[in-house]
């Protein structure tokens, strides 16, 4: 059977309409989609009542066609793993194994993902011991001159924790294995629990979204708003849509600018490091100009935005924006025109297009391998349907490509913001909240919603399902970092270990977004 249900970003479908495949049909379907340009946006288990079967959900994104294809299937306590046929499923299957106590037979690595209390399908099953974080059998290379290097969880800078285990021969890295989970806060469990109620309707959920990955507050909050608005049939007004677009692009600008500075720092090019350190903050201050918080906390809310900007504030924003953009261009020009920088960036940490496709990389990491993949372009939602973004790619797959894609995206974000500011200035003031009853509004029962947002690191995917009473009973978050950490590991192969900081920074992935 070939599933024929298609949906688009920000839509919802009745759960009963989602095709159900047996596991082998699912495998055939997913492998076929991957060959035909599709990829796994998410693969996850849906908690149910069966003590020996688990319902699993896969959402395939076909970027070229702009469609999403959800399918359901079922696995038992042991099932033949999908990963050998579909490498991009590897971390999803590990996550399901950890959460539900199932065994993907034939999966090459079955280490925990978040090192939390191991789950079980059968609630009556005896509890298993919680593993110590990072305590696992790392992949080891044997040989007389092979040695292991362990780094973390606490790193040298002001960075989130994670553990890196290198297998080295002299300076050369044969293999890097990344063990995360230190940042696991149990966010997903809380999203459908008692903490998701009360307060002004959503309990702590807005704050859990804002802190899922704090540097992506706008991205994750918008993905959640997309889910809630889809299920409640709410359309945010145009003014709010434009403010949201500006906020999301400012978030991208702040982080891309900061990354260019940090990359400069890692190759000891201090002028751009110094300039970008300041400029990143200037973008954060523009977000604070709109909502009072540098990370955009409280700016996007279901139905619209929590803050408006009048003509005077917009003029102030535009003035600051143009001045900052001039300095960002200057700082980036210096970086890219300095031969010693180019020498360190080029051919360092290469990831091939084939590897990136097989692993299902997203965001700048994928676009730096020449893959044109951008939610804003492929699955436009909200104002991106009207103010069309252009994908920025670079083919070389190295640190230079990842830096250059950021530089190109900085220019593209600037163009989008200017267009949005023009549109916003022409609009009558007021109207930042959709009309309707107070939140939480009734939501469509027994439905599945998928919301994708192109955060600055790549595709953010939120999936939710409602029960018979219209309450959200299932919620799943995939941060772009979940797809991309393995890309970093692959980039390190054959590289000198001293290039790790530079390479790591060129990906700049989220620990807490992965760990949730």
């Amino acid at each position: 059977m070939h599933p024929d249900l298609i949906m688009s970003n920000g839509e919802n479908v009745a759960l009963a309409d989602v095709p159900v495949l047996d596991l082998e049909s699912l495998r055939t379907f997913l492998v076929g989609e991957a060959r035909g340009g599709g990829r796994l946006a998410i693969l996850c288990g849906i908690p149910g009542n069966s003590p020996d079967r688990l319902t699993i959900l896969a959402v395939v994104a076909r970027d070229g066609a702009g469609i999403l294809r959800p399918v359901l299937s079922e696995v038992g306590e042991r099932y033949p793993a999908l990963t050998p046929d579909l490498p991009q499923a590897h971390l999803f299957e590990r996550e399901m194994a950890e959460r539900f106590g199932i065994t993907p037979v034939g999966h090459p690595r079955r280490n925990p993902v978040r090192y939390t209390v191991p789950g079980a399908l059968d609630p009556a099953a005896p509890a298993r011991a919680r593993p110590l974080p990072g305590d696992t059998d790392f992949f080891r290379v044997d040989g007389e001159e092979v040695h292991e290097v362990a780094v973390g969880p606490i790193h040298a800078g002001i960075i989130e924790p994670g553990h890196f285990r290198f297998q080295c021969h002299g300076e050369t890295v044969f293999h890097l294995e990344i063990a995360l989970g230190y940042q696991h806060r149990g966010i997903e469990a809380a999203l459908t629990g008692p903490l998701s109620q009360g307060g002004r309707g959503f309990g702590r959920v807005p704050h859990l979204m804002a802190t899922a990955a704090g540097d992506t507050t706008i991205g994750h909050t918008l993905a959640w708003c997309g889910v809630v608005e889809s299920l409640s049939g709410t359309r945010p007004p145009e003014r709010a849509g434009l403010l949201r677009l500006i906020a999301l692009e400012l978030e991208r600008l702040a982080n891309h600018t900061g990354d260019l500075g940090a990359l400069a720092g890692d190759v000891a090019y201090l002028p751009t490091l110094s300039f970008c350190g300041r400029l990143r903050g200037d973008f954060l201050n523009m977000t604070a100009l709109v909502c009072g918080n540098r990370f955009g906390r409280g700016l996007a809310v279901p139905g619209g935005t929590g803050f408006d900007a009048d003509g005077h504030r917009l003029a102030e924003l535009r003035g600051r924006f143009e001045a900052t953009m001039r300095d960002v261009e200057g700082a980036a020009d210096l970086l890219f025109e300095t031969p010693s920088v180019r020498a360190r960036f080029e051919r360092t940490g290469e990831v091939s297009r084939e590897t990136a496709t097989a692993l299902g990389l997203v965001g700048p990491a994928a676009r730096a391998c020449g893959i044109a993949r951008d939610v804003r372009v492929d699955h436009p939602c909200g104002m991106y349907g009207r103010i069309r973004a252009r994908t920025s790619t670079w083919p070389s797959g190295d640190v230079f490509a990842r830096a250059n894609v950021r530089r190109l995206e900085i220019r593209e974000s600037a163009r989008l913001i200017r267009t949005a500011l023009d549109a916003l200035t022409a609009l009558p003031e007021g109207g930042i909240q959709a009309d309707g009853p107070p939140w939480p509004r009734p939501m469509r029962p027994e439905s599945l919603a998928v919301s994708l947002v192109e955060g600055w690191r790549g595709e953010i995917c939120h999936v939710a399902a409602t029960g018979p009473d219209g309450r959200i009973t299932f919620y799943k978050i995939t941060d772009p970092s979940f797809h991309n950490w393995e890309g970093l590991a692959m980039a390190l192969r054959g590289l000198a270990i001293s290039d790790f900081p530079l390479c790591n920074k060129s990906f700049n992935l989220s620990y807490c977004g992965h760990d949730l």
């Binding site: 969880p153 307060g199 002004r200 959503f202 859990l208 002028p271 300095d327």
Partner: protein, 257 residues
């Protein structure tokens, strides 16, 4: 080289004159809350909607001055849920960035007289007053607190001019600055880092998570803040704290403000 120099001239000096001059802050900054007792309706006080709206339970009815609600700034995420439902506009956020205190109980803000952080005791102040090396530990922080501590080391705030520096090892540090609610998976690493810091050492909890667990308070993977595990010398509230708020707290601790 010449281009780098020209660009440097064009981008100008950017270090803020704080603390010699008051900081420049956004007009919508959500700083120290303002509770206007005159506007706070008497019939509202026994069951105030602001307390019901707060998802963190940070608003405590009747504990403020003249029977107004008090706010636990350690739990407060400085969102707008309470101000949005206040029927009389008595509860608002002010622009006062000064929030850091020395003791957890000082964060119970009754509407006036927040007891801001005092300087360290004589001996530790003599040791650390002119040179304070800190090891930063993120223990479940969402990277917002981390990013806004990192920004203190940029040319804008130039932390080094105060003799404060973030160092790469606890062995080189005079104290640790912790962000995040302390996840169970970071508990051991945090304790080891603390033990590895030579005495006398100080501990700074930066951000709502590190102070009280923040949005993760009471959740099974969270230890609800740093002081559940090690004694804390400075509490900096905020989600995340504005860099100026954190800097203000550190300078107060060193007796520089």
């Amino acid at each position: 080289m010449l281009r780098a120099v020209l660009e440097r001239l064009r981008q100008k000096r950017r270090t803020v004159p704080f603390p010699a001059e008051p900081p420049s802050l956004p007009d919508r900054l959500r700083g120290l809350p303002v509770i206007d007792a005159a506007k706070c309706p008497a019939d509202c006080r026994h069951n105030p909607p602001c307390a019901a709206a707060c998802p963190m339970g940070a608003i405590l009815p009747g504990l403020g001055t003249a029977g107004t609600p008090a706010i636990d700034l350690g739990k407060c995420l400085f969102c707008t849920d309470c101000t949005a439902v206040c029927p009389s506009g008595a509860l608002t956020f002010g622009r006062d960035h000064r929030l850091a205190v020395r003791r957890r109980e000082h964060l119970l803000f009754r509407g006036e007289g927040l007891k801001l952080a005092e300087a360290l005791e004589k001996r530790t102040r003599r040791l650390f007053g002119r040179s304070l090396k800190l090891r930063q530990v993120s223990a479940g922080g969402c990277n917002a607190c981390e990013a806004d501590l990192n920004v203190l080391t940029t040319i804008v705030f130039d932390l080094g001019r105060f003799g404060i520096e973030f160092v790469a090892s606890p062995r080189h540090a005079d104290g640790i600055m912790v962000t995040g609610p302390v996840t169970e998976n970071m508990r051991v690493a945090l304790l080891k880092c603390y033990e590895a810091t030579p005495e006398p050492r100080i501990v700074i909890a930066s951000g709502s998570c590190a102070v009280s667990g923040g949005p993760f308070a009471g959740m099974p993977e969270s230890h609800d803040g740093v002081d559940a595990l090690v004694p804390v010398d400075l509490y900096i509230p905020g989600c995340p704290p504005h860099p100026i708020t954190a800097l203000d707290g550190m300078l107060r601790l060193l007796g520089r403000i």
